[in-house]
Amino acid sequence: MNFFKTKPRAPPDLVRGLRDVIPKLDAGPSGAESRRKIWFCYQASEEVSRNLQGIKGILYGDGEPIPELIAQLAQETYSTDLLLILLQNMHKFDFESRKDVVQIFNNLLRRQIGNRLPTVEYICARREDVIFSALAGYGNEEIALNTGMILREMLKHEQLAKILLYSDQFYMFPHYIETTSFGVSCDSFANLKDTLTRHKSMVAEYLDKNYDRFFNSYTTLILSNNYVTKRQSLKLLGEILLDRANFNVMTRYIAQDANLKMMMNMLRDKSKNIQFEAFHVFKVFVANPKKPPQIEAILRRNKEKLLVFLKNFHNDKEDEQFSDEKQFLIVQVQNL
């Protein structure tokens, strides 16, 4: 195994070598007996890992990275669409190679020349698929955490987050969150959260324009049978609504009686945490100085019950802000 680092290879060799060996991971020569086939696959796998190591070596380097080499390498990855190929084939790589891909990817994404981010520009201009492939990684448990990390890095860039948000694929998030195991589900939720909270004005504009579609989809998460999904999506809802940038969205949300009913039901959820998160959405309905008639009607109808409920609600919490808010709500309800 020592022949790894003997001769540093040039970026074009590495990138093209990598691209060319990837198809060999699937199978050896057709018709070959299975042992032979495994041997071929093994060799291909070794070569993938060698090439990835080589690329990583250029990007991270032992000493000072050499800008010319990196520039050449980046150029080569763009012209061969290597990033997309890596994402699409990641599930065939071995454990360490997958981690290498993440490191390479994220290094290239962060690469900056003056104010320009060449990799981001490349993806925006030519390969939006890269974003969607990273998202699609959630379909495969084995690589989901790796592709999730790549997606997280991409979402840091507003242009890329915008592409995802405005796409149909964005509405795959609830599916991934609901159907995957805890770890993957949480990871995809974290990326959904990033998409919705990192670039506030961009998101606010989107939510305003796509209010119905978004909330129809998002409500499925809030109503999820999965405790973790429910708790996290309620919490995020609170954060979204209370963000200044989303003022219009909030006004619309708290004008709908169906939303109020949903939150009032959540207040009585068995889980204390869900009650608590629901409270932080519910309070906005009550605090609204210009309550629409349908909202006010519901609150008025439940006035006495609400007063009793709120007075006994989470009295053991030693959170001053919470107590103040609760007190404020009690006064508001009283004055109805």
């Binding site: 199978a27 093994y42 360490e96 981690k99 995957t180 195991s181 770890g183 990871d187 973790v228």
Partner: protein, 652 residues
């Protein structure tokens, strides 16, 4: 293209996803894929079970975390799992998967039959060759983690697991952190094992793990970490202040050197895992199979009928004998603390600390087989007869719960723990909710809160866990009993009644004389025990001053007259020529070098705090020399003089 099995030959080459491993398969009821066999213990934030993967019949460990109990952001827990999932090393416990059942998160991990080093320590301290092997394996593990960009942050014997064949693995990534290029500031770990820079919150990196390794080495050699006799919160104050602990006792110089290399206070000078792997202590270590001796020894220990008084738990000792304390088993709660903010959720962590003896929380899966041997857990002793098949099970003594502290807040004042204003620490301790159960227990044990909790040993140790059960039994009005008097005195409510004039003088005796003397005696490079002893005296005087100033005054005078009347003490003072605060400091350093021989040199200390009266005192001091008259008289005169200057009306 092969469309056959989902596991392609290539991916099976990876260490993960190999068929036949007990991974959970995504389904609506993943819990049914496992059968819980027995409770192994209560970990830092959950209960750990031994379980069987039904399909492969493999044994796994399942950690259950009650998410409803945790105020933590679920995403944070997920981050921890993710970093574990990115590990593929012989030296790190393998992670198989996780899923949620009702409000509980189940984390499926590799089961290690040998138990934790903390368990194995119950049969007595390890020998040096054993420790060398464990340290080498830990260094491999840490080197892997650090290369991967992860800091473990909670290295201690409890988190070092052994396989049946003696392989050593790092466990409990409850608090592992992904290392970014910047230094970390999160306050996390278990006090006794925490590196000074972590406590100081001045930023730390992977080197923090190396310190903890050094402490763990001492723990394995002695049976408990240094400073184990002190309260964990107190230790937070001592570690950054005192000089690093040293491995004392009958150990080879190589081992002692290894430990001291780990316990280098300056993290930049501390060696890395890679460098330490080259150390002679490590180079000479045996194969891991040698460690099976430890496992066998533990099995034998367990097979014996539990003695009434545990072998390694001698009865109450009158004095603290540090050198021999390797035989003392600590019943401290060496908790890893975890809290989302200083003011935040320490309470929830404290809840974790309560041993779940009765708690049968298997309400979730009715179909699960569950054979907890309640009895043995209760007694913390022998295994029920029927479970002889598994005598190696990890069993946490119900008294010794090890959980984790974490304070995520980056404080505005980074040095807040180091600023020696431990009143701040006290305040935070109290607000973290620790004060109440602590005080409670102390009051319970002694009737009155002791001057300093660390001064009494065995009783309060054994009752610590018990005390947690009494949480909420009463409201404690005093502040947490952890700081030095100097510091906590700031926190005392101003005395309401107007003090008499003479009382003022008595107060002044403590405030202006005794406390400055004691404060000056505490220096940063002192042994933690020296600092602690002085702090306790300080604390005592402060309290006495508050309660009965006249008594503190007369005690001091009695001490002086005692010196005067004791020929030995007088003789000593005459040769020592200096009992003044600054002189004492000088003598202190000389004592470490020359024993009790004290020099005659009258050194003038430039930063002498005693301004006006000091010069007068020097003269009288000389006079003492000449006349061989008792120094007590002179000191007394000096105090009176000092008092006269400040309160001329009183003593005229």
């Amino acid at each position: 293209m092969s469309s056959s099995p989902p596991v392609s030959p290539v991916s099976s080459l990876g260490a993960r996803g190999a068929p036949g491993d007990p991974y959970p398969v995504s389904s609506s009821s993943p819990a049914t894929q496992y059968t819980l066999l027995e409770k192994l213990g209560t970990g830092s934030f959950g209960v750990v079970y031994k379980a069987m993967h039904n399909e492969t019949k493999q044994i796994v460990a399942i950690k259950q975390i009650d998410l409803e109990d945790s105020d933590d952001d679920i995403l944070e827990i997920q981050q921890e799992i993710a970093s574990l999932a990115q590990c593929d090393s012989e030296y790190v416990t393998r992670y198989y998967g996780s899923f949620v059942v009702a409000y509980k998160l189940w984390i499926v991990m590799e089961y290690l039959a040998g138990g934790s080093c903390l368990d194995l320590l119950k049969a007595g301290p390890f020998s040096e060759p054993h420790i060398a092997v464990i340290c080498r394996e830990l260094l491999y593990g840490l080197d892997y983690l650090h290369t991967e960009g992860t800091i473990h942050r909670d290295i201690k014997a409890a988190n070092v697991l052994l396989s049946a064949t003696g392989r050593v693995k790092l466990a409990d990534f409850g608090v592992a952190a992904q290392l970014t290029s910047t230094l970390r500031h999160t306050f996390v770990g278990t006090p006794f094992w925490m590196a000074p820079e972590v406590i100081r919150q001045a930023g730390y990196d992977a080197k923090a793990d190396m310190w903890s390794l050094g402490i763990t080495a001492i723990e394995m050699a002695k049976g408990e970490p240094p400073l184990a006799e002190y309260h964990p919160m107190r230790v937070l104050f001592l570690i950054p202040k005192a000089k690093p602990p040293v491995l004392e006792g009958n150990f080879s110089p190589v081992f002692k050197e290894f430990v001291s290399l780990c316990l280098t206070k300056d993290p930049t000078k501390r060696l890395t895992a890679k460098e330490l792997l080259q150390h002679r202590f490590i180079k000479g270590a045996k194969k891991t199979s040698y460690l099976t001796e430890l496992i066998e020894r533990y099995q034998e220990y367990h097979a014996q009928p539990p003695p009434k008084v545990q072998v390694y738990q001698p009865t109450v000792r009158g004095t603290i004998n540090w050198e021999n304390n390797d035989t003392i088993r600590s019943d401290w709660n060496f908790d890893t603390m975890k809290s989302t903010s200083v003011m935040g959720t320490f309470k929830s962590a404290a809840k974790d600390v309560v041993p779940e003896i009765e708690g049968d929380d298997l309400t979730v899966g009715d179909q699960l087989v569950y054979e907890e041997d309640q009895e043995s857990f209760d007694t913390g002793g022998a295994i029920k007869g029927s479970t002889v098949t598994d005598p190696t099970a990890i069993r946490l003594n119900s008294h010794v719960t090890h959980s984790t502290i974490r304070v995520n807040t980056v404080p505005q004042d980074r040095d807040f723990l180091n600023a020696s204003t431990s009143s701040q620490l006290d305040a935070s301790v109290e607000s973290m909710g620790l004060g109440t159960p602590l005080q409670d227990g102390l009051t319970e044990a002694f009737g009155v809160p002791p001057v300093y909790s660390g001064s009494v040993r065995s009783e309060r140790r054994s009752s610590y866990a018990a005390r947690h059960k009494t949480t909420g039994a009463g409201i404690i009005k005093q502040e947490a009993d952890l700081g030095t008097s100097l510091d906590t005195s700031k926190g005392h409510a101003p005395l309401k009644r107007r003090r008499g004039e003479s009382e003022g003088a008595e107060m002044a005796m403590v405030n202006d004389v005794v406390l400055p003397v004691l404060q000056n005696a505490i220096r940063d490079d002192m042994d933690a025990r020296e600092i602690e002893a002085l702090s306790m005296i300080t604390r005592g005087f402060t309290d006495l001053r508050e309660v009965n100033p006249a008594l503190s005054y007369s005690v001091i005078l009695d001490i002086l007259s005692g010196i005067n009347e004791s020929p030995v003490a007088r003789q000593h003072i005459q040769t020592a020529c200096g009992i003044s605060p600054h002189k004492r400091i000088i003598r202190k350093s000389e004592m470490t070098a020359n024993g009790l021989v004290v020099t005659e040199v009258q050194e003038d200390v430039p930063d002498l705090p005693m301004d006006s009266s000091a010069s007068a005192f020097e003269k009288t001091d000389d006079a003492t020399q000449a006349q061989k008259s008792p120094i007590a008289e002179l000191l007394y005169t000096r105090w009176l003089e000092g008092l006269r200057i400040k309160w001329p009306s009183i003593l005229s």
